[in-house]
Amino acid sequence: MSRAGDAARLEVAIASKDYVPANGRAQRVLDDLRLTLTRGEAGAVVGPSGCGKTTLLRIIAGLDHDFSGSVALPDHGRLGMVFQEPRLLPWRSVEDNLRIVAPLASADEIDALLGALGLAEHAKHFPGELSLGLARRVALARALAVKPDLLLLDEPLVSLDATLAAGLREKIAALIDEKRVTTLIVTHDLREAIALADRIFLLSPRPAHVAATLDIATPRARMTGEAAAALEQRARALIDAARAR
């Protein structure tokens, strides 16, 4: 394994990753999984539940070193990550949660971020006083506060109701366009990927590799209903083909 910053883009080349259960034989989770993202691009990794998406994200985030292959992070490798559970510090206020991970950010920058995510009135609240939807937004604000070279989102819309999910999806899309930060989203929801990404990586079932890559010519705000429907149809066909193989 190796993991380094300084590349111009995100390059993931995982030869293999095995998971060894407490008592049992090793299972291969990832097998020859390769993907790249150029600077400023948003990629979405889509695959069925349990196919190893989160494992992939943990390897890229440097939380799992037990794999063979290499990961090169863009620029200085500064990471911002939104975990599935928000993982905020419950004993610090919302604004302190941002300040602690981003000690160099100015008060104005923090305020602007909180404002952009509709959190201005919650700045002094503790995370325990927030709903899951709000806590997710705080986690997103925190990930952006560090001015990341790579933004990692693990199922950012999961377990939110439809309205909340749609609202947050629009916010994420707007922020990706505004900040031009290299972003990797992991999701089980194809429509979510189509709404957010420049490029979609479809994963095969376990052991996962990238079965197909879809480039989106008109991402996010420029996406039309017809284009989204056409993409979805294409992607479903590719997924079925990968499964049949």
């Binding site: 993982r87 602690i100 325990g128």
Partner: protein
Amino acid sequence: MTRLWSFAALLLTWQGFAWFAEPRRLPGPALVFETMLEEARSGALFSNMAITLARVAAAFLLAMSLGSAIGYAMGRNKLADRVLDPWLVALLNLPALVVIVLAYVWAGLNEAAAIGAAALNKLPNAVVVAREGARALDRNLDEMAQVFGLSAKARFRHVLLPQLAPYLAAATRSGLSLVWKIVLVVELLGRSNGVGFEIGLAFQLFDVRLLLAYAIPFVALMLGVETFLVQPLERHVSRWRRGAA
């Protein structure tokens, strides 16, 4: 208010028994208070209390800082836990008196031996509590701190300490009362000043008035420390829990 009534009932019971007992065995509250005033006027009460309080503080801080560090290491590191556990069990079951006598025999009748012996009696308890705290640390927050590259100082202050705070508060409460009781024994056996020494003197003269005149103010002092120092501190560090939904 209920506390005041309860306290008044205690005083009344004391007075009631004092009416039937001979004053040498059990002097009434008024007599004891008089002796207290005498000792206070001569300055002996305050100087002895100050000396004892200083010993309590030194022994307590020594035991808590060392105990927390060892307990944390044992909670985080399996090898350290396995190596140190028998020592811990031995120390937990070693009678306080044995530790004190051995300390005086080996290190001489000096201040270091006195404080060290008192600290050593509290140490295993602090270790046990800190170990429980370290075992309960949230791995998710550790990973968050790692991904965001938090400095060691920020991790200690914002991630580690708030999680250990309830455990340290519990160790503080049980610790203060334990340490001051042991310091009295230490003073009785090998010091020529302090509340414990005065109580030893009172015992040799069978002077129950003097004994109570020293014991009661010190109990009141420790009650004050608990009420005005430990409890407000505990409320401050757990204020984030109050608003929890």
